[in-house]
Symmetry: C7
């Protein structure tokens, strides 16, 4: 790996999300549930944000975000899989101190 | 459950709705009827709002809202099922003192 | 019926319409014809408005409105069936003193 | 007919048009040709306007209007059939003194 | 023909075009080529304008216009066939002194 | 050819393009490659502009333009074939002194 | 090659991208991974920008860009293959000093 000099920046309203390892339904370290069959028709899943474009208004790095798996793109960087979504397709966020929390916790 | 520290916040115009337990058609504690076959083509159903995004204009937490089941997304949080809708896809609300009530009660 | 405390309010440009009992084609008390087979391709039908959202501009409670049955949603409240439409999908109204009447009467 | 008290008013840009009796292709009293098979793919037909919504800009009651039969809705009022169209779907008008006439007469 | 009193006026951006007699591919009096099979997938044809709506910006009566036959509507007036198009669907005009001519002549 | 008096003018954002003779893949006089099978799914081709509408902003007569063959219309003028495109569907131009050249030459 | 005098300029928001040689999945000189089967449903790939239209806002020549292969057009210039994309369809860039980097490196 002699040339890791290109750093990634998200464009527009794109959001990059870490992918949980696929291993049947289980609870992740952040309390996030990933169903074994993520393509289940209307079922949303949670992921952790690791990059946002300059047009994203609310979502920040570190937030958990709720999204529909069918809207995702996928990319592999340094052997890790990531998802790419548009912020407008995200339905909810979860973090430690949201401004307009629902009182529901992951 | 040692890490329930992430609180959920709805994004944009998204509305989170509590799901009634499926058990055939019955009247819920709030007088809400859930048909046994909710996918019936044009039939709307009622649910109770438990979270709204900052772009939602009229709907508030605690309101009953009238929606078409086909427009819903689903998410499970702490073992409970919730629906996610866009406010613009909701057709009516019901609460104890609406500003422009129809004179019809649930 | 111990909890009829939730009053319904229509959202956006939604209009709630009373459903005529289905019993073959007959003339209703307001002179309204409901065909026995309402799904007939391009045929419009009349109904009576019993609720309008705050974005509705012309239609008022009590108006008869002309609509295409395919555009309707349905909801049951206290055992009665109602239709839900968008005002922009209504084609005409009829009332006792319209501002721009056609000279045609139901 | 004891209750003909509801007068019809067209909504938005809707236009109500009198239907010619179907009896094979023939020339109407206003010189209007109605083909026996009006559904013919791209063929336009003429009708007489008997009501216009407040958003209609050019078309007036009494005008003949040129339209595509596939764009029509139908309604029966007092036993007579009428068509309902949107003004923007009308292609031409014909009247006794048009402001921008083509020099072509029906 | 005792009642030719209704004069036609085009609406909106509609353009009325004279139809060439169908008789195999031949050159018209204005140098216009009409293919025998006008429905040929991407092939454009020329026609002569005989009426324009008030929203038309460039096209004038007498211009030859280049259009795709699939975009046309048809109407018969006094036994003659005419086409009806929208100006935005026209691709080019040809006349004796165009403001921005291509140097190509019909 | 006694009446070549109608000069062609392109409308709106339409661009007229000269067609290369079809004769298998070969390099044209301007260095332009035309594949033998131009309908190849995503493959773009080059052509020479010979007319532009008044809404075209960048493309000028004499430019080579890069386009997708599927977006084209066709017209025959004086026995020569031409293509008609919309400027917004063009992907690149090539000329002798472009303002924002890529350093790539045909 | 006696006439390489036409220089290419991208139009609108179009971006030209160099194509990696197809030879199974391997790491390119810039650390870019090109899967052997690029058409894999939601999988994004990286490419190097070699030309941008004047409407492109963020992407610059030399950037690596992340895109979905299905959105691409293709063009051959001087025997080399290039892709053409719209900037809005690009999901991320990577360069040596991005303004809003994610901390992830190619």
């Amino acid at each position: 790996m002699p040339e890791p000099k290109f750093e990634v920046q998200m464009l527009h309203d794109r959001v990059m999300i870490k992918v949980e390892k696929e291993a049947g339904e289980r609870r992740s370290t952040g309390g996030i549930v990933i169903p074994a069959t993520v393509e289940q028709s209307n079922r949303l899943v949670w992921g952790e944000v690791c990059g946002v474009g300059t047009h994203a208004r609310t979502v920040k790095v570190g937030d958990r975000v709720l999204f529909h798996p069918e809207d995702r793109f996928e990319v592999e960087i340094q052997g890790e899989n990531y998802l790419v979504m548009r912020e407008r397709d995200l339905h909810a966020i979860a973090n430690e101190r949201p401004e307009h929390g629902t009182g529901l916790y992951l």
